[in-house]
Amino acid sequence: MRRGFLFAIGVLLLTAFIILNDLVDDWGRLSGGMENLSVFIQESMWPPNWSVLEAQSYPVCENKIEFFCSVGYIGMMETIKIAFVATILGFIGALCLSSFAAKNLMPMRIAFPFRTLLSATRSLPSLIWAIIFVIVIGFGPLAGVLAMTFYTIGYLGKLQYETYEGMPSDSLEVSKAMGLSHPAIFTSVVIPETGNHLLSQLMFMFEYNVRHGTVIGIVGAGGIGYYINTYLKLLQYDKVLALLILIFVVVILIDLLSLMLRSFVTDEGDVRRPKWLSFLMKLRKGDESTK
């Protein structure tokens, strides 16, 4: 079993390398690449310029705490708001569609059109959705919300119906044999049984949408991406780095939030619910043990 697994990994790696070799026409390009990157980071990006966390000169800051008037805060909050609304709307939309797309909940003749619809929604990246909505309704956060919502429906929908298809079949079979309706089976059996996965996917999608806010902002759909785009155009890479670090911190915080939320629906939650402090202390203990 173990030997077979290692063999399979080896075959996959070899296949990947052969395909990569076919894609890359000149390996010589790699030489000097790291040196170029190092020069770029040292001369243009490092150290990060934290002035992005200070109040902007215009409009005049009326808040006592300067940070709340900074580019970093304003951009990040707009991105988080866009990501939050889009994730919630997308999650609910995906739940409705995915319940009809799972082949253990619906016959294939019904599931297939819904799977196709979800594939179509997913096949356009959120950046393209953003361009479409910027054309339709103009620049601003609404275009960002709509773009992310559509992409979220396609992406989460697929994750969700695959989760339903992977759930243990016995509770589903009993519900079907008893004659429970599709909505009753979905809300009372499927959602409780897959709650942990659904929450995990929801939090992942929120995190993904926050990260992707940087990209869709670049095409004018609002959020921190707008400022990143501005600094890129002005070649102020040190400010770009500061904003990227800010996004990284927010992503870490979302991950911790996900850990807390999912503890309510896992078996572990019965025994011990992780505390913020205990989680951070565990990280520190882990650091010490690796030294």
């Binding site: 079979e173 009993v174 044999a177 008893m178 004659g179 009753a184 009372s188 059996v189 629906v265 019965d270």
Partner: protein
């Protein structure tokens, strides 16, 4: 005259090959049928075919049951929703026979409460399923069936893992149902349980299903001994 609930006609069950062949039988209201036979001989597949979860390889299964919640099913692995409470699971049974457009929430709640009480699980009502013992889980599955009050209940080894006292409680509860005209088809291994509850036997041997009365089955057992 008791009512016809289930009619099996020339039924062959199995997956890649027939496990049981040419079954033609009827189940009428008030009957308790024990399906017996060695492990792996096709008892569970027969039950699952009747429940509509496995396609018959040949023949037909005709059910004459109410549209909502007429058929109850307790599989070997019980099919409980693990990440939900005892009440939630038992309520599924009540919802099957009394959907929102047919019965009130109070009526369903009454059924659930009395089914939980009949199984002696009052103190576990809000407990998540994953915290219960094997015997308690079987009682929850039985309570779900009691709350549903199905006209025909299919049960796969639902008395195993239960102590004698609990078997008595479960059997009494099921007999209350059958006295009201409901029927039970159950897979069972323990002879004493069969003696206690069954009114007819379906014995599966050599791919054939033999329908016999309790007396005929006793006689056969004595001859084999």
């Amino acid at each position: 005259m008791s009512e016809l609930l289930l009619k099996l006609s020339n039924l062959n069950v199995g997956f890649s090959e027939d496990l049981v062949q040419d079954v033609s039988l009827e189940v009428r209201s008030g009957e308790i049928i024990a399906v017996l036979g060695q492990s792996g001989i096709g008892k569970t597949t027969l039950i699952r075919t009747i429940a509509g979860l496995v396609q018959p390889r040949q023949g037909s299964v005709e059910l004459n049951l109410p549209e909502h919640g007429g058929l109850g099913y307790i599989p070997q692995r019980l099919g409980l929703v693990r990440h939900a409470s005892v009440y939630h699971n038992v309520n599924l049974g009540a919802r099957a026979s009394l959907p929102w457009f047919k019965g009130s929430r109070e009526e369903r709640a009454r059924r659930v409460t009395s089914a939980i009480a009949a199984m002696g699980l009052e103190e576990k009502t809000r407990e998540p399923i994953r915290r219960l013992s094997g015997g308690q889980l079987r009682r929850v599955a039985t309570a779900r069936a009691l709350a549903q009050q199905p006209t025909l209940l299919l049960a796969d080894e639902f008395l195993s893992e239960l102590d004698h006292t609990t078997v008595d409680v479960v059997v009494d509860a099921v007999k209350t149902l059958t006295d009201e005209g409901h029927s039970l088809v159950m897979v069972e291994h323990h002879e004493e349980n069969v003696e206690m509850i069954a009114t007819r036997i379906w014995l599966i041997e050599n791919q054939q299903l033999i329908d016999m009365t309790i007396d005929e089955w006793r006689k056969k057992m004595e001859e084999e001994e």
